[in-house]
């Protein structure tokens, strides 16, 4: 039985700066894993490498037993990795429902021509998409806003919608980039429940980047600490947070 995600010796440089240096991680199925580190440590770059936005200079990425190194973003999503973004990226001029339905793009398919000519498969599949999308929206308590433009949602709900859309693509591994950024403590608490719920309900493996230590220590089972592009420490959350090196570099 191999891990959900295993990354070996991942490295990338931008113009001489080694943004990610010899990065390793192993995440088991169903784990809630945290990636922390000071600003500019390379956390988002790791996400961009995992999702094919950048091609690594060195190293290999395995999703279960499949080598996904060097695949492009679309193929990686199809292979089973979905993500959210630090600066929320929704389809802002589309409805909340449509945002999730776009996430379902590769799950429910019918030919373009049957959409144009409104053949029976169009009606059948669209109905299935609507049902599935509404289920997902219900999980995130967004079904009332299904017809609003995504851009008109309050901030916290936009974050939730982004997670819902990522889940719609049917991933095995979910990457969350600072899901609690800009939230008040109440919203963060709610978000922690949601993330736990997603893990249990969808049997999901989750890797998240976060600065909010309350969230990290509250829900993550394991942690990796990134500093200047390389892994400073990794292991069980309680152990990592007590690692003197980590305290020195990060918590300070």
């Amino acid at each position: 039985m191999c891990a959900m995600l295993s990354v070996n010796n991942l490295s990338i440089s931008f113009g001489g700066l080694r943004a990610v240096d010899d990065f390793n991680i192993e995440i088991e199925k169903g784990e809630l894993y945290g990636l922390i580190g000071p600003n500019g440590a390379g956390k988002t770059t790791v996400f961009n490498l995992l999702t094919g936005v950048y091609r690594p200079d060195e190293g290999r990425i395995f999703l279960e037993d499949r080598n996904i190194t060097g695949l492009d973003t679309v193929e990686i999503n199809k292979a089973g990795i979905a993500r959210t973004f630090q600066n929320i990226r929704l389809f802002k001029d589309l409805s909340v429902l449509d945002n999730v339905k776009i996430g379902l793009h590769n799950i429910f398919t019918y030919p373009t021509i049957s959409g144009i000519l409104r053949l029976s498969s169009y009606f059948r599949i669209e109905k299935e998409m609507d049902e599935r999308a509404l289920e997902l929206l219900k999980v995130f308590d967004l079904e009332k806003e299904k017809d609003s433009f995504a851009k008109n949602l309050p901030y916290g709900k936009q974050r939730k919608l982004e997670i819902a859309r990522a889940l719609a693509t049917g991933p095995k591994l979910l990457l969350l980039d600072e899901p609690a950024a800009g939230m008040n403590p109440n919203e963060t608490g709610e978000l922690m429940d949601t993330i736990r719920f997603v893990r249990d309900e969808f049997d999901m493996t989750i890797l998240l980047i976060e600065h909010d230590m309350k969230l990290v220590s509250g829900i993550c089972e394991k942690l990796s600490v990134l500093n200047f592009g390389s892994v400073l420490s990794r292991g069980k959350t309680s152990e990592v947070l007590n690692d003197p090196e980590v305290i020195a570099a990060y918590l300070g």
């Binding site: 988002t44 961009n48 936005v53 973004f85």
Partner: protein, 295 residues
Amino acid sequence: MLNFLTYFVNGISLGSIYAIIALGYTMVYGIAKMLNFAHGDVIMIGSYIIYTSMVTWGLDPLLSIVIAAAGCTVLGIVTEKVAYKPLRGAASSLAVLITAIGVSYLLQNLALLIFTANPKSFSSVVSWDGISLAGGELKIQGVTIITIITSLIVLLALQTFIKKTKQGQAMVAVSEDKGAAALMGINVNKTISLTFAIGSGLAAIAGALLCSAYPNLTPYTGAMPGIKAFVAAVLGGIGSIPGAMIGGLLLGIIESLSKRYISTQLSDAIVFSILIIVLLVRPTGLLGKKVQEKV
């Protein structure tokens, strides 16, 4: 060979005119990030001002150019203030594009109303006959030489202005990042006005040279050179001053030679093909900077 040289030199001259227009275009585009479709029509207005002051009022050519440059500068500032500035920060960049098209229509129809559609011509602003080389076989017209020299002077003056003066540096700063420039205490509105003023003033000079070389002034004279100058600016790399110069010259030479050796009707098609080929190989033009979106 002499024949080739004649067309080559003509190409450089035509290219110099494109280059002067493209310099204005590239500056305005760099700072306002808008396809200013009315830029070509400013050339046309400048030419009509020269026509009026030279033919109707009988003024000296040089004085006429000064009047035209002043007139176009004012025109540039006013259109920017009235039509473009209110749309800064609009939800779609198409808004200001359409407004520029509206301004273009407005200027063309204003000219049509005042000067009618009948082509006007004025004797060249350059009275010098030019030089003969190779025992009179290769004749280079005065206006050709003056055009080339003028464009070189304009280029050098502009480069010096941008590199050496405070206002020039402010322009660079505003075109890189308006917000940051404003935080550094640069008056963004004033800088944009200045850019439009310079661009429009250059258009007047280009108009004078264009109508001296091709004496056939109608309300639509500016449109095509305007588009081609934009092509030149893109070809050279939008925002780059030397790029505009190189793009303009290249365009002029290719146009002149393909008119002579391939086909008059197809010369524009050839010019546009060159643009496409260059952009496919170098998506930001010959001297353009590469930008990447941050994820």
